[in-house]
Symmetry: C2
Subunit: 334 residues, 2 copies
C-alpha cells in the first residue's frame, strides 16, 4: 500500500480529499486484513463517545419490566443504524445519580434517555447541570417545554377508554392503575376521572388501585372487587399483564369476560403478548413502545448532532381498538 495514516483515515471516513481509486484500494485492504479503527482511539481523538447511556435502577418495579426491554430494542435499532452504541448501566437505586455523573465526567456517553419519569422528577435538573443531552420517555410535569420527550397521550387514551365503557352503559368502572407516583399513571388516572366527571359521575375510591402491574395484582383485585358489594361491571387496566390477571379473576368468580364484566387495557404492543387477530382478545388502547424507542433515539441523536436546536417532542395518540373483552353493561338484577 504505502499510504500514510492520514490518507487511510480519510479514505475510511469518507472525506473528499482522497481519490476514488485510493479509497477503493484502502477499503479493499482493510476488508482483507479485517481492519477497523479501534473505537477507543477514535473516540478519544474525536471527543465523542458515540454511545447513548441508559441508566436503569436495579429495583424491581415498573421499570424492570418487559416494556422497558421493548423500548430498548426500538432504540437499539436506531442507534446501530447511526453507528452509535448502547450502554446500559444497572445500578442500585441509591447510586442512580452517581451513574449519571460518571457518564458525564468520564464521557461514557454523548447523551442519555430518562426512563419512567415520576411526578416529582429531578433527574433532568441534574442532567442539565451536567450538560448531558437527554430525551425523556414520558413527560416531566412542569418541564414539558424545556425538555425533549416522547410520550403517548395517556390522559386522552384513558379518557376515551372510559367514555367507551360509559357509552356501553357501564357506570361502576374499576381502575387498576400503575404506581401513581409515576407520571404516566397519574395522567391515566386523570383521564379516567375526567371522563367520569364529563358524565356527572365521580370515581369511587373503592374501585381504584395503584401498584406494580403484575399478573396477580390484576387477579387479586378483580376478585376482591367482584366479591365485594356493589361490584364493578368493567375494569380499566394499565397493562396487558395485569389485564390477564383480571381476566383470570373474573373467571374465578364464575363470570365471563366481555359479557358479565368488561375489560379495557392499555396495550404496549409487546411482542410476546400479541393482542391482535381480527378481533383481539382485549379491547385496548394501543401504542407501540418499541416505536417510541426508535423515535426517542432519533430525537436524541438529532439533539447531539445539533446542540443548538430547540427541544423537540413527540406526542402520540393511542389507538382505541375494540376486542372481545368489552360488551354492554349487564342489566341490573334487582
Amino acid at each position: 500500500m504505502n499510504l500514510s495514516q492520514t490518507t487511510v483515515s480519510r479514505a475510511l471516513n469518507g472525506y473528499p480529499e482522497v481519490s476514488a481509486e485510493t479509497r477503493r484500494r484502502v477499503a479493499e485492504m482493510a476488508d482483507q486484513l479485517g481492519y477497523a479503527p479501534n473505537s477507543q482511539a477514535r473516540r478519544l481523538a474525536t471527543g465523542r463517545s458515540m454511545a447513548i447511556g441508559h441508566v436503569i435502577p436495579r429495583s424491581i418495579h415498573e421499570m424492570m419490566n418487559p416494556i422497558f426491554l421493548e423500548f430498548i430494542a426500538g432504540a437499539g435499532e436506531t442507534y446501530s443504524r447511526h453507528g452509535y452504541d448502547m450502554m446500559l448501566s444497572v445500578v442500585d437505586d441509591a447510586h442512580e445519580e452517581d451513574a449519571y455523573r460518571q457518564i458525564a465526567s468520564r464521557k461514557k456517553a454523548d447523551g442519555v434517555i430518562i426512563h419512567g419519569p415520576a411526578n416529582d422528577e429531578r433527574r433532568h435538573l441534574l442532567l442539565k447541570k451536567l450538560n448531558l443531552p437527554f430525551v425523556v420517555h414520558g413527560r416531566i410535569p412542569g418541564a414539558e417545554a424545556e425538555t425533549s420527550w416522547i410520550d403517548m397521550n395517556n390522559r386522552r387514551a384513558f379518557e376515551r377508554a372510559t367514555n367507551l365503557l360509559l357509552d356501553l352503559g357501564h357506570t361502576r368502572i374499576a381502575l387498576l392503575n400503575g404506581l401513581e407516583h409515576m407520571d404516566f399513571a397519574h395522567r391515566r388516572r386523570r383521564g379516567f376521572e375526567d371522563a367520569l366527571a364529563g358524565r356527572g359521575l365521580s370515581a369511587d375510591p373503592a374501585l381504584m388501585r395503584s401498584a406494580d402491574m403484575t399478573e396477580p395484582y390484576g387477579c387479586e383485585n378483580a376478585v376482591a372487587m367482584l366479591k365485594g358489594d356493589n361490584p364493578p361491571t368493567a375494569f380499566l387496566v394499565s397493562s396487558m399483564i395485569s389485564a390477564i390477571g383480571v381476566a383470570r379473576g373474573i373467571g374465578q368468580c364464575g363470570l365471563k369476560t366481555g359479557k358479565d364484566v368488561s375489560i379495557i387495557t392499555h396495550d404496549d404492543a409487546l411482542s410476546f403478548l400479541p393482542n391482535c387477530g381480527e378481533v383481539p382478545i382485549f379491547t385496548c388502547t394501543r401504542s407501540s413502545v418499541r416505536y417510541a424507542g426508535q423515535k426517542a433515539a432519533e430525537l436524541l441523536l438529532a439533539m447531539i448532532a445539533d446542540p443548538t436546536a430547540k427541544p423537540a417532542s413527540l406526542h402520540m395518540d393511542a389507538e382505541l381498538i375494540i376486542g372481545q373483552s368489552t360488551g354492554p353493561a349487564p342489566v341490573r338484577e334487582s
Copy 2:
C-alpha cells in the same frame, strides 16, 4: 496541588508508590472538581475496553422477551460492581456475525455473552477465531467441554415435572414447548420423553407443540387439544406466559385448572410474573434467570482476568415447586 499527572493517576488507581497523605489530597481534589478519568483515554492506554457486549438480533422471537431482560439485569449488576460497562447491540439477524466481528476488530468489548444457543450453533466458532472471550447462556451441543457456559438442567427439570404428573395419574400429557431448534427446548423435550419412556409410555405427537412462547400460543393450543378427542389431562409448558394462556384456554373450555386439568410450567422467576405465595398459582420448575445473569457475568469477568484458565461452567438444577395448578388425574368417565 502541583502534582504530576503520573502521581494523580497512581493515586486514583491505588498504586502503592504514593503516600497516603498525597493520595488523600488527590482524592479530595478530584472529588471537589468532579474529576474522573476520561474512560476513552484510559481504555486506549490500557488496551482494555472494560465493557461486555451483548448482541441481540432484532428478530421478534424467544430472545427478545422478558427473560432476556431479566438476564441482562442480573449481568448488569455484576458488571457495574466490577467497573465494567454493558454494551447492547440490536442488529438485523443477517448482521449478527458482523456485530461480533466489529466488537473484536474495533475492540468494543473485552468479551461477550452468547444468548439462546441453537442446536446448530456456530457463533462460538466465530468467537474463538476472533479470540474474543465469551460465556454461553445455555449450552452448545457438542461443545460443552470447550466452552464456558451457565445453564439449568433443562432435561432433568422436565423429566421431574413429567414424573410428578405421571405420579398423579396423568397419562395424557401435552407438551407446549419453546422452539425446538433452540437447545434448551430440545433438552426439555428429551426430559419429557425420557420420563414417559421410563414408564413404558411414549409421547403422542398430537399433544406436542413447539413455537414462540406467547400467551395466545398457550391458549389456542390448549383449547384445540381439549376439544379434540382423547384430550390431555395435563399440560407441561415451557414458560409462565404460555401457561397463563393455557389456563385461560382451560377456563374457556369450562374446565378448572388444577382439578380437571393440571399444568406445570417452567418459571424463570420474572419479577413481573411472580408465582409465589404460600401456594403459588402454578406448579412449576423454577430457576432464576436473573441469578444466571449474575453468574454468567462473573464467569466471563474471571475469564477475562485470567485468559489462561480452563473453561468453567455452572449447571444448575431447577426447583420443582408445587402450586395450585396440579392435582390427581380425573377419573376417566366411560
